[in-house]
Protein backbone atom coordinates (compact mmCIF):
# COMPACT_ATOMS: atom_id res chain seq x y z
CA UNK A 1 0.00 0.00 0.00
CA UNK A 2 1.22 3.51 -0.80
CA UNK A 3 2.53 5.30 2.27
CA UNK A 4 1.96 8.95 3.19
CA UNK A 5 4.04 10.59 5.91
CA UNK A 6 2.64 13.02 8.49
CA UNK A 7 5.63 14.96 9.81
CA UNK A 8 4.19 16.87 12.79
CA UNK A 9 1.29 16.14 15.13
CA UNK A 10 -0.39 19.44 14.17
CA UNK A 11 -0.29 18.79 10.41
CA UNK A 12 -3.44 18.55 8.29
CA UNK A 13 -1.56 17.19 5.26
CA UNK A 14 0.70 14.16 4.68
CA UNK A 15 3.39 13.65 2.00
CA UNK A 16 3.16 10.72 -0.42
CA UNK A 17 6.19 8.42 -0.57
CA UNK A 18 4.99 6.89 -3.86
CA UNK A 19 2.40 7.70 -6.51
CA UNK A 20 -1.24 7.04 -5.58
CA UNK A 21 -4.16 6.50 -8.01
CA UNK A 22 -7.76 7.74 -7.44
CA UNK A 23 -9.61 5.49 -4.98
CA UNK A 24 -6.32 3.98 -3.84
CA UNK A 25 -6.03 3.57 -0.05
CA UNK A 26 -2.92 5.00 1.51
CA UNK A 27 -1.30 4.04 4.79
CA UNK A 28 -0.51 6.96 7.11
CA UNK A 29 2.82 6.90 8.97
CA UNK A 30 4.87 9.25 11.09
CA UNK A 31 2.67 11.30 13.43
CA UNK A 32 -0.44 9.45 12.25
CA UNK A 33 -1.73 5.94 11.66
CA UNK A 34 -4.58 4.29 9.80
CA UNK A 35 -5.71 4.19 6.23
CA UNK A 36 -7.19 6.91 4.03
CA UNK A 37 -8.65 6.66 0.51
CA UNK A 38 -7.32 9.31 -1.89
CA UNK A 39 -9.83 11.10 -4.11
CA UNK A 40 -7.56 11.77 -7.08
CA UNK A 41 -4.12 11.01 -8.48
CA UNK A 42 -1.39 12.24 -6.09
CA UNK A 43 2.27 11.88 -7.04
CA UNK A 44 5.31 11.07 -4.90
CA UNK A 45 6.39 14.09 -2.88
CA UNK A 46 2.97 15.74 -3.17
CA UNK A 47 0.53 16.29 -0.30
CA UNK A 48 -2.82 14.77 0.55
CA UNK A 49 -5.25 16.34 3.05
CA UNK A 50 -5.81 14.19 6.12
CA UNK A 51 -8.50 16.52 7.52
CA UNK A 52 -11.10 18.85 6.06
CA UNK A 53 -9.69 22.35 5.44
CA UNK A 54 -12.12 25.25 4.89
CA UNK A 55 -11.46 28.04 2.41
CA UNK A 56 -9.15 30.55 4.08
CA UNK A 57 -7.98 28.10 6.75
CA UNK A 58 -4.30 27.33 7.21
CA UNK A 59 -2.63 24.37 5.54
CA UNK A 60 -0.22 23.02 8.16
CA UNK A 61 2.92 20.92 7.46
CA UNK A 62 6.02 20.54 9.68
CA UNK A 63 3.75 22.08 12.36
CA UNK A 64 3.80 25.50 10.64
CA UNK A 65 1.35 27.19 8.24
CA UNK A 66 2.66 26.69 4.69
CA UNK A 67 -0.22 28.63 3.12
CA UNK A 68 -4.00 28.89 3.22
CA UNK A 69 -6.76 27.05 1.39
CA UNK A 70 -8.18 28.91 -1.64
CA UNK A 71 -11.02 26.36 -2.01
CA UNK A 72 -12.67 23.84 0.33
CA UNK A 73 -10.42 20.78 0.76
CA UNK A 74 -11.75 17.35 1.81
CA UNK A 75 -9.76 14.53 3.41
CA UNK A 76 -8.08 12.55 0.62
CA UNK A 77 -7.82 15.56 -1.72
CA UNK A 78 -4.56 16.53 -3.40
CA UNK A 79 -3.35 19.78 -1.79
CA UNK A 80 -1.34 21.88 -4.23
CA UNK A 81 -1.26 25.07 -6.30
CA UNK A 82 -4.96 24.85 -7.24
CA UNK A 83 -6.25 24.99 -3.67
CA UNK A 84 -3.43 26.37 -1.49
CA UNK A 85 -1.66 29.76 -1.74
CA UNK A 86 1.37 31.26 0.00
CA UNK A 87 0.96 33.98 2.62
CA UNK A 88 4.05 35.71 1.19
CA UNK A 89 4.52 35.03 -2.53
CA UNK A 90 2.02 37.14 -4.47
CA UNK A 91 2.58 35.09 -7.64
CA UNK A 92 1.31 32.04 -5.73
CA UNK A 93 -2.03 31.01 -7.22
CA UNK A 94 -0.86 31.90 -10.73
CA UNK A 95 1.11 28.72 -11.41
CA UNK A 96 0.07 25.81 -13.63
CA UNK A 97 -0.99 23.00 -11.30
CA UNK A 98 0.79 20.26 -13.27
CA UNK A 99 3.97 21.87 -14.64
CA UNK A 100 4.29 24.59 -11.98
CA UNK A 101 5.15 27.13 -14.69
CA UNK A 102 4.01 30.73 -14.16
CA UNK A 103 0.99 31.86 -16.13
CA UNK A 104 1.42 35.57 -15.45
CA UNK A 105 4.30 36.43 -17.84
CA UNK A 106 3.53 36.98 -21.54
CA UNK A 107 5.66 35.14 -24.12
CA UNK A 108 4.35 36.96 -27.19
Amino acid sequence: MTVAFKIHAGDNVATLLADAAPGCRIELRGEAGGVLPVNERVALGHKVAIAAIETGAQVVKFGIPIGSATAPIAPGDWVHLHNCASGFDERSGGFDVVTGAGKDVAYD
Binding site: T15, K47, K61, F62, G67
Partner: protein
Protein backbone atom coordinates in the same frame (compact mmCIF):
# COMPACT_ATOMS: atom_id res chain seq x y z
CA UNK B 1 32.44 10.41 19.72
CA UNK B 2 31.76 7.42 17.50
CA UNK B 3 32.73 6.30 14.02
CA UNK B 4 32.99 7.96 11.58
CA UNK B 5 33.25 11.26 13.45
CA UNK B 6 36.53 10.35 15.17
CA UNK B 7 38.21 9.62 11.82
CA UNK B 8 41.47 11.35 10.94
CA UNK B 9 43.07 11.93 7.57
CA UNK B 10 45.96 14.04 6.19
CA UNK B 11 45.23 17.66 5.37
CA UNK B 12 47.28 20.58 4.05
CA UNK B 13 48.17 23.22 6.63
CA UNK B 14 47.84 26.89 5.63
CA UNK B 15 49.64 29.73 7.35
CA UNK B 16 46.39 31.00 8.96
CA UNK B 17 46.04 27.65 10.75
CA UNK B 18 43.19 26.38 8.61
CA UNK B 19 43.56 23.00 6.93
CA UNK B 20 42.66 22.04 3.37
CA UNK B 21 41.37 18.75 1.99
CA UNK B 22 42.84 19.55 -1.44
CA UNK B 23 46.01 21.36 -2.52
CA UNK B 24 44.96 23.28 -5.60
CA UNK B 25 46.42 25.87 -7.93
CA UNK B 26 43.64 28.35 -8.73
CA UNK B 27 43.68 30.31 -11.98
CA UNK B 28 41.62 33.48 -11.58
CA UNK B 29 40.68 35.64 -14.54
CA UNK B 30 39.69 39.23 -13.91
CA UNK B 31 37.40 39.91 -16.88
CA UNK B 32 35.40 37.72 -19.25
CA UNK B 33 37.83 38.64 -22.06
CA UNK B 34 40.49 36.52 -20.29
CA UNK B 35 38.23 33.51 -19.65
CA UNK B 36 39.31 31.45 -22.66
CA UNK B 37 43.02 31.79 -21.89
CA UNK B 38 42.44 30.96 -18.19
CA UNK B 39 40.59 27.76 -19.14
CA UNK B 40 43.22 26.87 -21.76
CA UNK B 41 45.91 27.19 -19.07
CA UNK B 42 44.08 24.80 -16.73
CA UNK B 43 43.02 22.31 -19.43
CA UNK B 44 44.51 18.89 -18.79
CA UNK B 45 46.40 20.06 -15.70
CA UNK B 46 45.84 18.01 -12.57
CA UNK B 47 44.81 19.99 -9.45
CA UNK B 48 44.54 23.25 -11.41
CA UNK B 49 41.10 24.88 -11.40
CA UNK B 50 39.56 28.08 -12.75
CA UNK B 51 37.30 30.75 -11.36
CA UNK B 52 36.75 34.18 -12.82
CA UNK B 53 34.95 37.45 -12.49
CA UNK B 54 33.16 38.39 -15.72
CA UNK B 55 32.84 42.13 -15.13
CA UNK B 56 35.42 44.68 -16.17
CA UNK B 57 34.39 47.08 -13.40
CA UNK B 58 35.49 46.00 -9.97
CA UNK B 59 33.27 46.09 -6.92
CA UNK B 60 34.19 45.56 -3.27
CA UNK B 61 31.79 42.63 -2.86
CA UNK B 62 33.20 40.77 -5.86
CA UNK B 63 36.82 41.39 -4.84
CA UNK B 64 36.11 40.20 -1.29
CA UNK B 65 34.47 37.07 -2.70
CA UNK B 66 37.32 36.37 -5.14
CA UNK B 67 39.96 36.84 -2.42
CA UNK B 68 38.11 34.54 0.01
CA UNK B 69 38.24 31.86 -2.70
CA UNK B 70 41.89 32.63 -3.55
CA UNK B 71 42.84 32.24 0.13
CA UNK B 72 40.58 29.24 0.75
CA UNK B 73 42.09 26.38 2.79
CA UNK B 74 41.91 24.05 -0.23
CA UNK B 75 43.96 26.47 -2.35
CA UNK B 76 47.75 26.39 -2.20
CA UNK B 77 48.69 28.83 -4.96
CA UNK B 78 47.11 31.31 -7.39
CA UNK B 79 47.76 32.57 -10.90
CA UNK B 80 45.67 35.62 -11.80
CA UNK B 81 45.22 36.41 -15.48
CA UNK B 82 43.81 39.61 -16.92
CA UNK B 83 43.40 41.01 -20.40
CA UNK B 84 45.03 44.33 -19.58
CA UNK B 85 42.38 47.05 -19.68
CA UNK B 86 39.96 46.01 -16.88
CA UNK B 87 39.42 47.69 -13.52
CA UNK B 88 39.97 44.43 -11.61
CA UNK B 89 43.70 44.07 -11.03
CA UNK B 90 45.33 40.59 -11.29
CA UNK B 91 48.59 41.82 -9.70
CA UNK B 92 46.75 43.07 -6.61
CA UNK B 93 44.97 39.71 -6.27
CA UNK B 94 48.35 37.98 -6.48
CA UNK B 95 49.81 40.35 -3.84
CA UNK B 96 46.92 39.70 -1.43
CA UNK B 97 47.36 35.97 -1.93
CA UNK B 98 51.13 36.24 -1.34
CA UNK B 99 50.45 38.05 1.98
CA UNK B 100 48.53 34.92 3.08
CA UNK B 101 51.74 32.86 2.69
CA UNK B 102 50.77 31.30 -0.65
CA UNK B 103 52.92 31.51 -3.79
CA UNK B 104 51.19 33.49 -6.52
CA UNK B 105 51.73 35.12 -9.89
CA UNK B 106 49.85 37.35 -12.31
CA UNK B 107 50.07 38.70 -15.85
CA UNK B 108 48.11 40.63 -18.47
CA UNK B 109 47.52 38.86 -21.79
CA UNK B 110 48.15 42.13 -23.67
CA UNK B 111 51.68 42.27 -22.17
CA UNK B 112 52.53 38.67 -23.07
CA UNK B 113 51.17 38.45 -26.59
CA UNK B 114 48.14 36.47 -27.71
CA UNK B 115 46.18 33.35 -26.84
CA UNK B 116 48.91 30.77 -27.45
CA UNK B 117 51.80 32.65 -25.89
CA UNK B 118 49.71 33.52 -22.82
CA UNK B 119 48.51 29.93 -22.48
CA UNK B 120 52.09 28.62 -22.73
CA UNK B 121 53.31 31.13 -20.15
CA UNK B 122 50.39 30.33 -17.84
CA UNK B 123 50.96 26.59 -18.10
CA UNK B 124 54.61 27.00 -17.17
CA UNK B 125 53.59 29.09 -14.15
CA UNK B 126 50.87 26.73 -12.83
CA UNK B 127 53.17 23.71 -13.24
CA UNK B 128 55.85 25.47 -11.25
CA UNK B 129 53.35 26.58 -8.57
CA UNK B 130 51.92 23.06 -8.32
CA UNK B 131 55.36 21.53 -7.93
CA UNK B 132 56.25 24.08 -5.25
CA UNK B 133 53.12 23.65 -3.11
CA UNK B 134 53.35 19.87 -3.47
CA UNK B 135 56.85 20.07 -2.04
CA UNK B 136 56.43 22.82 0.56
CA UNK B 137 52.91 22.54 2.03
CA UNK B 138 52.99 20.74 5.42
CA UNK B 139 50.80 17.62 5.68
CA UNK B 140 49.06 17.43 9.05
CA UNK B 141 46.49 15.20 10.75
CA UNK B 142 42.96 16.51 10.22
CA UNK B 143 39.54 15.54 11.57
CA UNK B 144 35.96 16.74 11.75
CA UNK B 145 36.93 19.48 14.23
CA UNK B 146 39.01 21.04 11.42
CA UNK B 147 36.16 20.96 8.92
CA UNK B 148 33.72 23.61 7.85
CA UNK B 149 30.91 22.07 5.82
CA UNK B 150 28.43 23.98 3.70
CA UNK B 151 24.98 22.82 2.66
CA UNK B 152 22.88 23.97 -0.26
CA UNK B 153 19.70 22.56 -1.71
CA UNK B 154 18.50 22.88 -5.26
CA UNK B 155 16.01 21.12 -7.49
CA UNK B 156 14.10 20.33 -4.32
CA UNK B 157 11.06 18.09 -4.29
CA UNK B 158 8.78 16.68 -1.59
CA UNK B 159 11.52 14.30 -0.41
CA UNK B 160 14.08 17.06 0.21
CA UNK B 161 12.35 18.35 3.33
CA UNK B 162 11.34 14.87 4.46
CA UNK B 163 14.74 13.20 4.37
CA UNK B 164 17.41 14.80 2.11
CA UNK B 165 17.82 17.96 4.18
CA UNK B 166 17.13 16.29 7.56
CA UNK B 167 19.94 13.79 6.79
CA UNK B 168 22.36 16.68 6.23
CA UNK B 169 20.99 18.40 9.35
CA UNK B 170 21.69 15.30 11.43
CA UNK B 171 25.21 15.14 9.95
CA UNK B 172 25.71 18.82 10.85
CA UNK B 173 24.67 18.09 14.46
CA UNK B 174 27.42 15.44 14.59
CA UNK B 175 30.00 17.75 12.99
CA UNK B 176 29.18 20.56 15.43
CA UNK B 177 29.37 18.10 18.36
CA UNK B 178 32.81 17.04 17.07
CA UNK B 179 34.00 20.67 17.25
CA UNK B 180 33.59 21.54 13.58
CA UNK B 181 31.60 24.21 11.77
CA UNK B 182 28.64 24.14 9.42
CA UNK B 183 27.13 26.86 7.23
CA UNK B 184 23.72 27.23 5.59
CA UNK B 185 22.85 30.17 3.41
CA UNK B 186 19.62 30.65 1.45
CA UNK B 187 18.03 33.09 3.90
CA UNK B 188 15.49 33.72 1.14
CA UNK B 189 14.48 30.11 1.79
CA UNK B 190 13.71 30.87 5.40
CA UNK B 191 10.70 33.05 4.45
CA UNK B 192 7.79 32.15 6.69
CA UNK B 193 9.99 30.74 9.48
CA UNK B 194 10.88 33.84 11.51
CA UNK B 195 9.90 32.41 14.89
CA UNK B 196 11.40 28.98 14.12
CA UNK B 197 14.76 30.54 13.24
CA UNK B 198 14.91 32.95 16.16
CA UNK B 199 14.18 30.09 18.58
CA UNK B 200 17.44 28.43 17.41
CA UNK B 201 19.69 31.42 18.28
CA UNK B 202 22.40 30.68 20.83
CA UNK B 203 21.91 34.08 22.55
CA UNK B 204 20.42 37.56 22.14
CA UNK B 205 23.28 38.74 19.92
CA UNK B 206 22.71 35.86 17.49
CA UNK B 207 18.94 36.40 17.71
CA UNK B 208 19.40 40.03 16.70
CA UNK B 209 21.60 39.07 13.74
CA UNK B 210 19.09 36.47 12.57
CA UNK B 211 16.14 38.86 12.97
CA UNK B 212 17.89 41.55 10.92
CA UNK B 213 18.92 39.11 8.18
CA UNK B 214 15.41 37.64 8.05
CA UNK B 215 13.74 41.07 7.84
CA UNK B 216 16.08 42.10 5.01
CA UNK B 217 15.40 38.89 3.07
CA UNK B 218 11.64 39.24 3.44
CA UNK B 219 11.80 42.85 2.27
CA UNK B 220 14.02 41.88 -0.67
CA UNK B 221 11.64 39.16 -1.84
CA UNK B 222 8.63 41.44 -1.48
CA UNK B 223 10.25 44.34 -3.32
CA UNK B 224 11.55 42.35 -6.29
CA UNK B 225 8.58 39.91 -6.32
CA UNK B 226 11.02 37.01 -6.46
CA UNK B 227 10.63 34.07 -4.09
CA UNK B 228 13.04 31.19 -4.11
CA UNK B 229 10.61 28.53 -5.29
CA UNK B 230 10.51 27.34 -8.89
CA UNK B 231 8.32 25.39 -11.33
CA UNK B 232 10.48 22.30 -10.75
CA UNK B 233 9.81 22.56 -7.01
CA UNK B 234 6.07 22.83 -7.68
CA UNK B 235 6.12 19.84 -10.02
CA UNK B 236 7.98 17.92 -7.29
CA UNK B 237 5.13 18.55 -4.85
CA UNK B 238 6.15 21.74 -3.04
CA UNK B 239 3.29 24.24 -3.07
CA UNK B 240 4.57 27.42 -1.40
CA UNK B 241 7.78 29.17 -0.34
CA UNK B 242 6.84 28.54 3.32
CA UNK B 243 6.75 24.79 2.69
CA UNK B 244 10.04 24.87 0.79
CA UNK B 245 11.59 27.01 3.53
CA UNK B 246 10.78 24.58 6.30
CA UNK B 247 12.27 21.72 4.29
CA UNK B 248 15.35 23.77 3.40
CA UNK B 249 15.92 24.91 6.98
CA UNK B 250 16.09 21.25 8.07
CA UNK B 251 19.65 21.31 6.63
CA UNK B 252 20.71 23.33 9.66
CA UNK B 253 20.04 20.45 12.04
CA UNK B 254 19.15 21.18 15.65
CA UNK B 255 22.18 22.76 17.30
CA UNK B 256 22.16 26.42 18.41
CA UNK B 257 22.87 28.95 15.65
CA UNK B 258 25.94 31.01 16.53
CA UNK B 259 25.09 33.99 14.36
CA UNK B 260 25.09 35.37 10.83
CA UNK B 261 28.13 35.70 8.57
CA UNK B 262 28.26 37.47 5.23
CA UNK B 263 29.59 36.24 1.88
CA UNK B 264 33.39 35.92 2.00
CA UNK B 265 33.43 35.64 5.77
CA UNK B 266 34.47 32.47 7.61
CA UNK B 267 32.79 31.44 10.88
CA UNK B 268 34.72 33.26 13.65
CA UNK B 269 34.31 30.27 15.93
CA UNK B 270 33.01 26.70 15.48
CA UNK B 271 29.36 25.71 15.45
CA UNK B 272 26.32 26.14 13.22
CA UNK B 273 26.21 29.42 11.24
CA UNK B 274 23.79 31.08 8.84
CA UNK B 275 25.27 32.99 5.90
CA UNK B 276 23.51 36.12 4.65
CA UNK B 277 23.84 36.24 0.85
CA UNK B 278 21.12 38.85 0.29
CA UNK B 279 22.30 42.21 -1.12
CA UNK B 280 22.30 45.00 1.43
CA UNK B 281 19.45 47.50 1.50
CA UNK B 282 20.57 50.07 -1.04
CA UNK B 283 21.28 47.52 -3.77
CA UNK B 284 18.13 45.45 -3.90
CA UNK B 285 17.48 44.46 -7.47
CA UNK B 286 15.83 41.55 -9.18
CA UNK B 287 17.98 38.48 -9.75
CA UNK B 288 20.71 39.26 -7.25
CA UNK B 289 19.93 36.70 -4.57
CA UNK B 290 20.48 33.04 -5.28
CA UNK B 291 20.01 33.38 -9.04
CA UNK B 292 21.09 29.74 -9.37
CA UNK B 293 22.48 26.88 -7.27
CA UNK B 294 26.09 27.51 -8.27
CA UNK B 295 26.02 31.05 -6.87
CA UNK B 296 24.89 29.76 -3.47
CA UNK B 297 27.52 27.04 -3.49
CA UNK B 298 30.24 29.60 -4.26
CA UNK B 299 29.02 31.69 -1.31
CA UNK B 300 29.35 28.69 1.02
CA UNK B 301 32.85 28.00 -0.29
CA UNK B 302 33.76 31.66 0.27
CA UNK B 303 32.96 31.03 3.95
CA UNK B 304 35.77 28.47 4.08
CA UNK B 305 33.72 25.30 3.52
CA UNK B 306 36.22 22.62 2.52
CA UNK B 307 33.39 20.37 1.32
CA UNK B 308 29.82 21.33 0.32
CA UNK B 309 26.80 19.03 0.48
CA UNK B 310 24.20 19.64 -2.21
CA UNK B 311 20.75 18.21 -1.57
CA UNK B 312 18.68 17.73 -4.70
CA UNK B 313 15.45 15.72 -4.82
CA UNK B 314 15.01 16.12 -8.55
CA UNK B 315 18.67 15.64 -9.41
CA UNK B 316 21.39 17.93 -10.71
CA UNK B 317 24.60 17.67 -12.71
CA UNK B 318 26.66 20.51 -11.30
CA UNK B 319 29.92 20.47 -9.40
CA UNK B 320 32.09 23.18 -7.89
CA UNK B 321 35.66 24.44 -7.99
CA UNK B 322 37.84 24.88 -4.87
CA UNK B 323 35.72 22.64 -2.59
CA UNK B 324 34.40 19.21 -3.61
CA UNK B 325 30.62 18.95 -3.95
CA UNK B 326 28.87 15.87 -2.52
CA UNK B 327 25.41 15.37 -4.05
CA UNK B 328 22.70 13.93 -1.81
CA UNK B 329 19.15 13.04 -2.83
CA UNK B 330 16.18 11.99 -0.71
CA UNK B 331 14.53 10.52 -3.79
CA UNK B 332 15.68 6.95 -4.53
CA UNK B 333 14.09 7.18 -7.99
CA UNK B 334 16.33 10.18 -8.76
CA UNK B 335 19.35 8.31 -7.38
CA UNK B 336 18.67 5.31 -9.64
CA UNK B 337 18.08 7.51 -12.70
CA UNK B 338 21.09 9.78 -12.14
CA UNK B 339 23.44 7.37 -10.41
CA UNK B 340 26.52 8.57 -12.30
CA UNK B 341 26.07 12.06 -10.84
CA UNK B 342 24.54 11.47 -7.42
CA UNK B 343 26.79 10.52 -4.48
CA UNK B 344 24.35 9.55 -1.75
CA UNK B 345 20.83 8.08 -1.55
CA UNK B 346 19.07 9.24 1.62
CA UNK B 347 15.78 7.93 0.19
CA UNK B 348 16.62 4.64 1.88
CA UNK B 349 15.33 6.22 5.11
CA UNK B 350 11.90 6.72 3.51
CA UNK B 351 11.95 3.12 2.28
CA UNK B 352 12.46 2.00 5.88
CA UNK B 353 15.90 0.54 5.08
CA UNK B 354 17.78 2.68 7.59
CA UNK B 355 17.20 5.25 10.34
CA UNK B 356 18.12 8.90 9.96
CA UNK B 357 20.95 8.35 12.48
CA UNK B 358 22.46 5.51 10.45
CA UNK B 359 22.01 7.62 7.31
CA UNK B 360 23.90 10.55 8.90
CA UNK B 361 26.71 8.21 9.97
CA UNK B 362 27.00 6.81 6.46
CA UNK B 363 27.00 10.32 4.99
CA UNK B 364 29.66 11.32 7.53
CA UNK B 365 31.82 8.38 6.41
CA UNK B 366 31.45 9.56 2.81
CA UNK B 367 32.48 13.10 3.80
CA UNK B 368 35.54 11.70 5.59
CA UNK B 369 36.44 9.64 2.48
CA UNK B 370 36.17 12.73 0.25
CA UNK B 371 38.17 14.77 2.77
CA UNK B 372 40.84 12.07 2.67
CA UNK B 373 41.12 12.48 -1.09
CA UNK B 374 38.48 10.23 -2.68
CA UNK B 375 36.90 12.24 -5.53
CA UNK B 376 33.18 12.92 -5.20
CA UNK B 377 31.07 12.07 -8.27
CA UNK B 378 31.00 15.68 -9.60
CA UNK B 379 34.76 15.95 -9.01
CA UNK B 380 35.48 12.72 -10.89
CA UNK B 381 33.23 13.83 -13.77
CA UNK B 382 35.18 17.08 -14.05
CA UNK B 383 32.37 19.43 -13.00
CA UNK B 384 33.84 22.77 -11.83
CA UNK B 385 30.95 25.21 -12.39
CA UNK B 386 31.52 28.63 -10.85
CA UNK B 387 29.64 31.92 -10.71
CA UNK B 388 31.03 35.17 -9.34
CA UNK B 389 28.60 38.02 -9.79
CA UNK B 390 28.06 41.67 -9.00
CA UNK B 391 26.16 42.14 -5.80
CA UNK B 392 26.61 44.54 -2.96
CA UNK B 393 27.07 43.84 0.69
CA UNK B 394 28.59 46.30 3.11
CA UNK B 395 31.98 45.15 4.40
CA UNK B 396 31.34 43.05 7.54
CA UNK B 397 32.26 44.49 10.93
CA UNK B 398 35.43 43.13 12.44
CA UNK B 399 34.15 43.31 16.02
CA UNK B 400 33.98 39.58 16.62
CA UNK B 401 37.69 38.96 16.38
CA UNK B 402 39.08 36.86 13.56
CA UNK B 403 36.24 37.40 11.13
CA UNK B 404 37.96 37.66 7.79
CA UNK B 405 38.17 34.57 5.61
CA UNK B 406 41.73 35.64 4.91
Amino acid sequence: MTEPFNREWSGWLRSDGRKGVRNLVLVIYTVQCAAHVAHAIAAGEEDVQVIGFPGCYDNQYAIRLVLSLARHPNVGAVLSVGLGCEYTQPARIAEAVARSGRPSDAFFIQDVGGTRSSTDKGKAIVRSLRERIGRETPRVPMGFADLTLGAECGGSDGTSGLVGNPAVGRLFDRVVDAGGSAICEEIVEMIGLREVILARAVNDRARGELAAAYAKAERYCREVRQYSVSPGNFAGGLTTIEEKSMGAFAKSGSRPIQGVIKVGEAPPWPGMWVMDSVPDEHFMQFGYTNPNDTEGIMDLISGGSQIVLFVTGRGSVIGSPVAPLVKVTGNSRTFARMREDMDFDAGRVLAGEMTLDVCADELGAMVADVAAGLPSKPEALGHREYFVMYKHQDTPDLDRGCRSAA
